[in-house]
Symmetry: C2
Subunit: 224 residues, 2 copies
DNA sequence: TTATATTAGTGTAGTAACGACACGAATTAA
DNA sequence: TTAATTCGTGTCGTTACTACACTAATATAA
């Protein structure tokens, strides 16, 4: 119950963002090196303090923009971590987000990409946060179309399958995968092909939102 | 990125809890009447400010205990709402939770139960929060076993089906429902029956956690 | 004691989704 | 022209899902 005072106990509220991309058949996250203590020199998620005049979602977008100069991004709130001991300096409640980008579209990133399977020694509880983001991503892949956020506008079905295999961590049957995707009625063939050296060219497709699968439940910022 | 200062911008962090139960074939939420402005006299979710020495989860449990004197409860974090304008007095970021109890086990509640389908004029953005909690509950019912949290330890299959029907908002086929539940291998027959007047008595079952369905992903406080 | 009203409890058949599986087509480089 | 590589396609068996109706067990009222 809210107290009768005009002001309440105050504490710092932060956002941290797990930005995923796929590079060469691995799932990668953007990390930045911390400049000062605590955890100086260690890698951490891009994050920052929520200012009083911005929403928490806006803070997450701002942090992403500061670190990567990207604005077109799938962004979804993940979980709020509120253990008093998670920041050694002061009580900081952090609202975490995860985001998906196609690495090709990224101009520059202040941080660097790291394979999620090879992370070690992240600052704070950021390793846990990445792991939870990965679980969420894996689950959502099965009943939404967020996977397309990791691809350019036009892509081959093999590229799409690679996204699914990388996130799910297992190989998929090519024919079954294509049958399932095509019958969702969310893909559109283009007249163009991707030429890949001395192989048969692969037809490029585009994604169009349709019935059957939903992209999001709430709170997402998406631009196509 | 965290600033170099030792202290950060501070703001109030609250928790609000959507406590669900089922009463007579309707889904109900616990609401309390606000004593003072803003929204004095209107109904609101039980909630409170997170103190500096407790985790956000602990704050949610504390609030529940203050309002209902219950401690054995399924509790799961829902979403964090951080629009600057959502509280007219001051910036308040609220971390919301939802909880499930069996109404029969509840001793006393400071608030009162209200059918979710008939809510109106809740304080703050609490109507949105209830609606989102209801969506989450509906989704989770399909791939977890949280539904059992709304039942006493021993229950009939018809009572179980009622829980599913009330949450999903649709009638289910009795034979298909029972076949599906039984083959999950999470129910145990007891030797006892529930006698319901001039009808055939119904066998009581108990729930036991098993493979196949998972109860939770993270952050839950559960006691059986 | 018998009849009636009410909910409990059970099986089948048709359909749709899923998983496993192999080969010809198109291209480039040698 | 040949070799190497990835693209793109269909079938069959199994499993899961949907729709659907009657008998069993009890309490009450006649």
């Amino acid at each position: 119950m809210l107290t009768q005072q005009k002001t309440f106990t105050q504490q710092a509220v932060a956002v941290d963002v797990v930005l995923f991309t796929t590079i060469e058949d691995t799932l990668q996250v953007l990390l930045v090196a911390r400049q000062q203590d605590p955890y100086a020199g260690q890698l951490s998620l891009p994050g920052g303090i929520v200012e009083r005049e911005e929403s928490v979602d806006e803070a997450a977008l701002r942090v992403l923009k500061e670190e990567t100069a990207i604005t077109d991004v799938y962004l979804e709130q993940l979980y709020t971590f509120g253990e008093p001991s998670r920041d050694p300096r002061d009580r900081v409640v952090t609202v975490t987000y995860y985001a998906l980008v196609n690495a090709e579209q990224l101009d520059t990133a202040a941080g660097s990409w790291h394979a999620v399977e090879e992370l070690s020694d992240l600052a704070f509880d950021h390793q846990n946060i990445v792991q939870y983001a990965q679980e969420r991503l894996r689950n959502k892949l099965n009943y939404t179309t967020i996977g397309f956020q990791l691809l350019p506008e036009r892509f081959t079905l093999t590229e799409l399958q690679n996204v699914y295999e990388v996130i799910l961590g297992q190989r998929l049957d090519k024919r079954n995968f294509r049958r399932k995707m095509l019958q969702l009625d969310i893909l559109e063939e283009t007249d163009e092909f991707k030429i890949n050296g001395r192989q048969r060219p692969a037809r490029l497709h585009t994604f169009r939102q349709a019935k059957g699968m939903k992209l999001q439940e709430r709170g997402l910022v998406v631009t196509f």
